[in-house]
């Protein structure tokens, strides 16, 4: 295939059909560009599919997802579901998208919007995820809220003891994840409040190192959890979870504010698994590979201003949303608009050259 065969300059391919991909597609489609979404799963939605309700206002995740999908359908954005792009080949000024040996399509611009993966909590062996059924991840607890999974304790427990561990696989060099996943703090607060709403007699503890309530109304939510819901915040990282009395877990930590060790029996332990890269971007002269991440892999590197979407060293390749690093939904939506603008500038600059 040579450069002259390449035609659809204005076509933008978006890899990933989660909130970042859908919102970027919408922003570009509204600007009159022709966009397509390539999604590896059979459905749009990404991680948003697994959420029950969203912080800080408790909006149902299915409502937001429904609205996004509706808009994507209303704009008739072509969807390539079940197609997993693993290689981009530069041809002329544009790209050919490959899945193995099969070409999936072509585009003038590619926007990576394939998000993040959740840290595999089994790697923190001291917390016993996968060993003890009462140890869940935050994503598992959302599935419990969605009634797709049962509570890990019997229905006779009206006053369960529940612990949340912040920073599991985040801020942890031993796990190869030096970064803060930044939305686990507020997620834990949201989930702790939800547990207290469902079990008013429950004792709920959050084990934190710092509470990073960076977003609009997150700090207010934290205070509400303390005062109105009686959630207790213990500063100290859990050292281990072990079998306790009956089906309970015995956990140990240091209360670093009191400088004293503490232990307690829990009916459920929730691990706030952080966000880690979903793929490793390997950049070559005229090709980009999307590979399995390895220990210490980083997110997609971008250049320029903080919000920039242009991928380092690659013209016509952009990145949108949480594939660049942990981001909340409002941040992802704002980023999608910023990336769409950058893509527009890029395509306009190509036209200006062509007409010169």
């Amino acid at each position: 295939m040579n450069a002259s065969e390449y035609l659809p300059k204005d076509e933008v391919a978006i890899i990933g059909g989660g909130p970042a991909g859908m919102q970027t597609a919408l922003a570009l489609s509204e600007r009159g560009f022709s966009v397509r979404i390539y999604e590896q799963k059979e459905q749009l939605g990404g991680h948003l599919k697994g959420w029950h309700h969203l912080f800080p206002h408790g909006v149902a995740a299915s409502d937001l997802l429904g609205q996004l999908k509706e808009q994507v359908l209303a704009r008739a954005v072509p969807l390539h579901l079940g197609q997993s792009v693993d290689r981009l080949q530069k041809v002329g000024a544009g790209w050919v998208l490959w899945q193995g040996e099969r070409p999936l399509g072509r585009a003038g611009v590619v926007v990576l919007a394939n998000g993040f993966a959740l840290f595999d909590a089994r790697r923190k062996e001291e917390y016993g995820y996968g060993l003890y059924p009462s140890v869940l991840t935050a994503a598992d607890l959302e599935a419990v809220f969605r009634k797709e999974q049962p509570w890990p304790f019997g229905s006779d427990r009206m006053a369960p003891q529940v612990g949340f561990v912040h920073c599991v696989g985040s801020r942890d060099l031993k796990c190869g994840s030096p970064h803060c996943s930044k939305l686990c703090c507020v997620t834990a607060v949201k989930q702790a409040m939800a547990v207290k709403s469902l079990f008013p007699e429950a004792q709920v503890y959050c084990f934190y190192m710092d509470l990073r309530m960076h977003g609009l109304e997150y700090e207010e939510l934290y205070r509400k959890a303390q005062v109105d819901y009686g959630v207790r915040f213990i500063r100290g990282r859990l050292s281990e979870a072990a079998p306790g009395q009956g089906k309970r877990l015995h956990v140990k930590a240091e209360d670093t504010l009191q400088g004293r060790p503490l232990h307690l029996q829990l009916d459920m332990l929730v691990l706030m698994s952080g966000m880690v890269p979903a793929f490793l971007l390997e950049q070559q002269e005229r090709a980009v590979f999307l590979k399995e991440p390895v220990f210490g892999s980083g997110f997609v590197p971008v250049q320029g201003l903080l919000a920039a979407g242009s991928v380092v060293q690659q013209e016509g390749l952009f990145a949108s949303g949480a594939c660049k690093g942990p981001a909340t939904l409002p941040e992802v939506f704002a980023d999608a608009a910023a990336v769409a603008r950058e893509v527009e500038q890029y395509l306009k600059s190509l036209k200006a050259v062509a007409h010169a």
């Binding site: 003891q161 004792q203 503890y205 509470l211 205070r223 303390q226 005062v227 009686g230 207790r232 915040f233 213990i234 500063r235 050292s239 281990e240 140990k252 209360d255 504010l257 009191q258 004293r260 060790p261 503490l262 232990h263 307690l264 029996q265």
Partner: protein, 112 residues
């Protein structure tokens, strides 16, 4: 066979047991003055405390000890407070510290 020891053991006499329910008198304090729950142990109350410069009074520590059930020590230390109210003026979370201190001081056995 002896149990394996990974060195995670701790002195039981120093360890806090969070599984133990809150003492009824502690619950009364927390329910009478719910703003205590808003404490995030920033320590500003202790930094401005005049009484704290000369005595073991530090309000945020009283909150932590209260939850730990150490009511005798909490009551004893709360009595060092002069109720000047600087802590309450400075508290970023709006804790009604004076009322909290009075409730805490009442936890100690009355002086003979």
């Amino acid at each position: 066979m002896p149990k394996p020891d990974f060195g995670f053991a701790f002195a039981p006499n120093r360890a806090l047991d969070l599984s133990a329910p809150l003492l009824p008198e502690v619950q009364v304090v927390l329910e009478t003055e719910p703003s205590i729950r808003a404490c995030m142990a920033c320590g500003q109350c202790a930094a401005v405390c005049t009484a704290g410069a000369f005595t073991p009074l530090a309000f945020y520590r009283l909150v932590l000890q209260l939850r730990g059930g150490d009511v005798a020590a909490v009551g004893e230390r709360a009595r060092h407070c002069m109720l000047c109210g600087k802590c309450q003026m400075t508290c970023p979370r709006g804790v009604n510290i004076r009322n909290a201190v009075l409730l805490m001081a009442a936890l100690a056995p009355p002086k003979p």
